[in-house]
């Protein structure tokens, strides 16, 4: 890790977020300075990337992520994304980005109806995103999931569009939740917003089972550095 300036990355805490601190820690261990941001804030600090972490924002009322999209900070997040800023959503963050219309599709209850908490293997399908630039196509990453509503869904027309654009960034090799087309992670058409159900922040140290999540978060740190113009 360099001793140079650390790129700032905002990590948004909603009422009910519970992976925000792990995310801050993981980003810090990969050379970034994580900046905690509260959902009621209306502006983002000067950051090179934004992360919406996992949890159960607003108690998952109505549908997961459906209420969080009205949080004051989400206007600033949408503007940041529209300006090309990299935005990553993990788990509940993915659900929020879908409900906010920043990502295609929606997350539905697991086909088993069970909460699943275990390691999964996901295949990197696209590397031209700020989230997978450190990977090679076909890389298999071991990253845990922990969710009850993680089955990504799109109807056939939307799926065809998303596939044609190469927006499916990550796919399960052993689909745990019934996601359409084995989708574990998907990006927007502009490729600067991505959501994934697995938790890269829980897989940044081999001592904790896997270090593969670091590839995703380190890609994001690199993208944040580039956006801020911080010398590497």
């Amino acid at each position: 890790m360099s001793d140079g300036p650390r790129p700032k990355i905002a990590v948004v805490t909603f009422p009910g977020s519970n992976d925000d601190r792990d995310m801050c820690w993981a980003l810090g261990s990969l050379g970034a300075e994580a900046v905690p941001v509260w959902h009621a804030d209306e502006e983002l600090p000067a950051v090179g990337a934004v992360v919406l972490p996992g949890g159960f924002s607003y108690g998952d009322y109505l549908r997961c992520g459906a209420i969080a999209r009205f949080a004051p900070i989400m206007k600033a997040v949408a503007a940041f994304a529209a300006d090309g800023g990299p935005v990553l959503g993990t788990c509940n963050g993915f659900q929020i980005l879908c409900e906010a219309g920043l990502l295609p599709g929606i997350l539905r209850p697991n086909s088993s109806l069970r909460f699943i908490c275990r390691d999964t293997t996901i295949r990197v399908e696209q590397i031209d995103t700020p989230f997978t630039s450190r990977c090679k196509p076909g890389y298999l990453l071991r990253i845990p999931i922990k969710h009850g509503e993680g089955a990504w869904f799109a109807d056939p027309e939307l799926l065809a569009e998303v596939e044609a654009n190469g927006q499916v960034v990550l796919r399960y090799t052993d689909n745990p939740n019934g996601a359409v087309a084995d989708v574990a992670g998907v990006c927007n058409a502009a490729r600067n917003v991505m959501g994934l159900m697995p938790h890269p922040e829980h897989a940044v140290d081999p001592l904790l089972g896997s270090g593969d999540g670091a590839l995703i978060l380190a890609s994001l740190v690199e993208a944040a550095t580039a956006r801020l113009g911080v010398p590497a």
Binding site: R63, I106, P109, N110, S111, S112, L113, F153, A154
Partner: protein, 81 residues
């Protein structure tokens, strides 16, 4: 005016909740060919204009109450036959 919105999983979409209810009923000895689980939302509106109310509730459904990708909805206003 009171409005009631019935939100249903769209036809043809996997409905694990419905399947679980169907299988549970089966365990109790009931023969049920299919079960679907939706959501009922009751609203109280200030308007008395039915057209206006119906249009407003439809907008609410499109923007928040239902997710059009996976759910369909049915609006009933107080006094609807």
């Amino acid at each position: 005016m009171k409005a009631t919105v019935l939100v249903r999983p769209k036809a043809g979409i996997l409905d694990p909740q419905g399947e679980a209810v169907q299988s549970g009923l089966g365990h109790l000895g009931f023969v049920v060919r299919k079960a679907h689980v939706g959501r009922l939302v009751e609203l109280e509106l200030d308007t008395t204009d039915r057209e206006q109310a119906r249009a407003a509730v439809a907008k609410m459904c499109d923007q928040l109450i239902a997710n059009p990708l996976i759910e369909s909805y049915e609006i009933t206003l107080e006094g609807d036959a």
